[in-house]
């Protein structure tokens, strides 16, 4: 701005005064974005051109993942018990072993992750979520204010470690895989997030008085192994966000070739039948973006292409029927 014409009598303001002056006179320097058609079109076009490649990238990553899903909750119940699954699962005298076969359609590179997937399982229910005690998990019996763990707080007067409904309902189906003649070893180490292992579960905390009650919820724990090494418990205790969730069971550290037939020997212990939950076994490889999930890729591509469509629509409209600027 040309201020040469200013008379000398106008006092020179210091920077601070000037800011205050601009503030009180509401004259702070500002840019004024006006959402003109050109801007709208340019924004949409550039969004489109950024998003579509990103989406394709994500899709490629997702497509490169090979995934085998097998639902076994019904099939692993003998025909005679189909009508009363709960009775079957509750009866300890009946053997629960079950064998499933599946074929590998595409070669799967190691590591191959083994997940169990539970559907209709409300791990995010309010009472369930809060029924745990992080202090106890870390400090063990030294910490005894475990009222949040109700109703699995104590048993016959003795505290339970780990207490609470979450631990009590630990998933306890077990899987073994056989390919041809040889068994596929499942590595069950390093399946939990490191931060959980190292900071949330105590290295010197051992299970105590666990699953000794009349009502047995789920799996039992080896009382000689500290909690920080009980990784299946750690995985289980990171409660899922949605009622349908997967949790990591272990890793197979061998490549699977195409047309390999995998035999899964599993013990179907976990009672998901009383609440109608489904159980699935999942074998999956992984990419830089994680497991098989097309959502992100599709979303990127869809948003990108709709941006371009909208831009085209705006351009067409602008050419055919321009709004005089400032009218």
């Amino acid at each position: 701005m040309d201020v040469d014409g200013r008379p000398q009598s106008v006092p020179v303001l210091s920077r601070r005064q000037k800011v205050i002056y601009q503030f009180t006179q509401q004259n702070l320097p500002a840019c004024k974005p006006v959402l003109t058609p050109a801007w709208v079109i340019a924004t949409f076009l550039s969004l489109g051109f950024i998003f579509i490649p990103l989406g394709l990238l994500a899709l490629v990553a997702s497509q490169s993942v090979v995934e085998i899903v097998d639902r076994y909750d019904t099939d692993c119940i003998p025909e005679v018990f189909r009508s009363n699954k709960v009775a079957f699962i509750k009866d300890d005298s009946i053997p629960k072993n079950c064998t499933r076969y599946f074929k590998v359609h595409k070669p799967m590179k190691a590591p191959i992750y083994v997940y169990y997937q539970l559907d209709n399982y409300y791990q995010n229910h309010r009472r369930y979520v809060k029924s745990r005690n992080d202090r106890q998990l870390l400090y063990g019996l030294r910490y005894n204010d475990t009222s949040s763990c109700k109703p699995e707080e104590t048993n016959s007067g003795l505290p339970i470690v780990p207490c609470g409904l979450i631990a009590w309902s630990l998933f306890n189906d077990t899987y073994r895989f056989v390919r041809g003649a040889g068994e596929l070893r499942i590595n069950r180490k390093n399946i939990a997030w490191r931060s959980d292992r190292e900071h949330k579960f105590g290295k010197h905390v051992y299970p105590f008085n666990f699953q000794n009650g009349t009502l047995i919820g789920g799996g039992k724990l080896d009382p000689t192994i500290p909690l920080s090494d009980q990784e299946d418990l750690i995985v289980w205790m990171r409660t899922a966000a949605l009622p349908s969730f997967r949790k990591l069971y272990g890793k197979i550290e061998e490549d699977l070739e195409e047309n390999d037939v995998i035999e899964a020997n599993l013990f179907n212990y976990y009672n998901s039948y009383s609440f109608g939950g489904k159980k699935k076994l999942v074998l999956s490889t992984s990419s830089w973006l994680g497991g098989k999930n097309d959502f992100l890729g599709f979303a990127y591509v869809a948003v990108g292409s709709s941006c371009i469509l909208v831009a085209l629509f705006f351009i067409l409209f602008h050419v055919k029927n321009p709004r005089p600027y400032g009218m």
Binding site: M1, D2, G5, P7, S9, V10, Y21, Q25, Q26, N27, L28, P29, A30, C31, K32, T36, P37, V40, F51, Y122, Q123, N124, R126, V129, K130, N133, D134, R135, S148, W193, S195, D196, H199, K200, T239, A240, A241, P243, S244, F245, R246, K247, L248, S284, S286, W288, L289, G290, G291, F295, L296, A299, Y300, V303, P322, R323, P324, Y325, G326, M327
Partner: protein, 875 residues
Amino acid sequence: MFTLITLYSTIIPISLYVSIEMIKFIQSTQFINKDLCMYHVETDTPALARTSNLNEELGQVEYIFSDKTGTLTRNLMEFFKCSIGGEVYGNGTTEVERGSAQRNGMTLGEVQKSTTTIREKGFNFDDARLMQGAWRNEPNPEACKEFFRCLAICHTVLPEGDESPEKIKYQAASPDEAALVTAAKNFGFFFYRRTPTTIMVRESHIEKMGKVQDVSYEILNVLEFNSTRKRQSVICRYPDGRLVLYCKGADSVIFERLADGQSGIKNLTRENLEQFGSAGLRTLCLAYRDLSINHYESWNEKFIQAKSSLRDREKKLDEVADIIERDLILIGCTAIEDKLQDGVPSCIETLSKAGIKIWVLTGDKMETAINIAYACSLINNNMKQFVISSETDAIREVENRGDSVETARFIEDTVKQELKKCLEEAQHCLSTASGQKLALVIDGKCLMYALDPSLRGHLLNLSLNCTSVVCCRVSPLQKAQVTSLVKNGARKITLSIGDGANDVSMIQAAHVGVGISGLEGMQAVMASDFAIAQFRFLTDLLLVHGRWSYHRLSKVITYFFYKNLTFTLTQFWFTFQTGFSGQRFYDDWFQSLYNVIFTALPVIILGLFDKDVSASLSKRYPELYKEGIRNAFFRWRVIGVWAFFSVYQSLVFYHFVSASSRSAQKWSGKMFGLWDVSTMTFTCMVVTVNLRLLMACNSITRWHHISIAGSILAWFVFIFLYSGVMTPYDRQENVYFVIYVLMSTFYFYAALLLVPIVALLGDFIYQGLQRWFFPYDYQIVQEIHKDSPDDSSRATFMEIRNQLTADEERSYAISLLPRETSKHTGFAFDSPGYESFFASQFGVYAPQKAWDVARRASMRSHTRTTPHRTLNQNY
């Protein structure tokens, strides 16, 4: 179930109240109180907001009730012109004349004041022909002498202080009288002492130039002024025994009492009177009569009798006075300027363009009120005027019969008939769509009956159809009644402005009360919500501060609503997946700090700094104010749009994040838990909600960037600390390390890019379409002036304007034009029309208006009807 419901308590933002109070407080203490445009230099008075609750109502005012004296006018009477023996004396043009000349496109140069001019309170007369004895050389020095003597003798003023022309002070019942006596003093007839029976006048230049003599006039009778007589007389005896009656009064009264055979001077004076009147001056006629001793003695007996009578003394005195005040000889007339405050006519014109209806409520006479209404362009000759007056012959006749009950009934009937007649005419006028504007003038007595519950509806109907209404001779109570009639009847925001104790009731009755911190004490200011020094500052107060405040606050409130609704809805969608158990989606601290830290500051910045159009454009396009009157930014439709997009956004947040986190997110195949998903969602939401605010801003300052970046940063700093440190106080749902787990995945960045953009895309499309197809008026103005500079020179310019001459001002204004800086070509600003904007702002004749050019430019590209063509046509 109860737990479930408490989850949604966040929809009611408690911090809204705090934020709004803060915004309003700063708006009033920092912006309104410190605005240099509303600072009056002469009296060293800044504007004063005495309450911070009404800022946004200032942007929605539809009716202004204004007092006249001291509010529209300065309440400074100045002797301005006179006519002696048919000859007009006094140069100079009144504000009114200047205003009308400007409207007609004439340029009035600044008149060079002669060096002899005496400027003094009450005297603004400039004509060398009468000063310092020069009147002796005029065609009729005798008339001049009588004129001056009449001014010096015929009054009830008391002198006070030292008996020298410089130091004396006159105490008068009305400022007019003081002005007249001051005028006499300046003409060389210095009234300096009053005793019970005499008036002492120091007369100069009587017998010969330069000679000064003290003359003592014996005052025999004073026939005082009252509103029925409309005149005042003094009978005095000269030292040489000459008996004279001096009389001054309204022209209508004086003219019917003149002796025969003065038709020449009578006609000349009448012409002069009309001339003065149209210039907005207050006139008085002066006359005298020589009395013979016998005649006087016989009359004086009657006078003493009347004076000592016990019954009907006033009436008898009037009758007796009437006997002697006859056969007068006309001397001339005086013209006193009741000066309008600076800029009042243009202010009123701007306000009425802004769709504000201005009512003048005054205790003055009807003629004066109408005069002032003309002067400040409230009424003009193109308007259809309805006058409901109690000063008609018919009413006076009934009044003279003396039966008060009958009088009341008669007036009531008349008012009723008049109202009905006017209403019919008004409706006829409006239905014929001739576009003629209506004005109503009503006096206090009629108003008393018109405010009766049975007639109130008619009055309201009629007056709401009128663009301007003048109520004269109203009492303070009636002022308040009229105000509340409109306030309650029309359900529109009303504003009262006044300066005196008699305006207090009216100021309190209206939604917004404005006091003029002027001459008449502090009562009005103490009762008001805002105090300004000059009426013209109302433009700034309403069109700039009020409009901005309204815009800002409606944005702040809708934004608050939006951000809390979005937050709560994500929680709502989550409850469907938890079997309605009432599990919280977010950590308690996220929820508590969402309103307090992560989204608090930007909205306050918006409430303080957002400007849709600059201050000068707000005043230049007063039509923009109508959006406030229509409440265009805070109606259900606007809130509905915000609500719609907050539903959309919450769906995007919840479902995008939850759907994309069903599978493993890393090479290592590990899965996310509940708190990972919720932290991810919350991160996306904080980013989106803050960016959405940026999209709502019309002007973006550094502070916007700082506060928005700061808020997002605050979230990250918080979550880094919160999830990075484990303390003995942790609760069960531990978010320990969550953010680090999240940030170790590519997924986090991919989602953080995708989700906010998808969420904002809806708003972006809507804003684009809305601006394209249904633009608000302010958006059109924004587009017209997209390339013009911000008016950062606004206040700076004002400071130095006082030191510049008109020509310098103009060149300075033009030097500020963005011709070098603007890169925009092919549009209005290159054309000569642009300069005329500044030219017209400073009262220089502007041959071509910028908007004419704008319209031409737009018509060139395409002629299409848009809903806003009317706006352009108004310009």
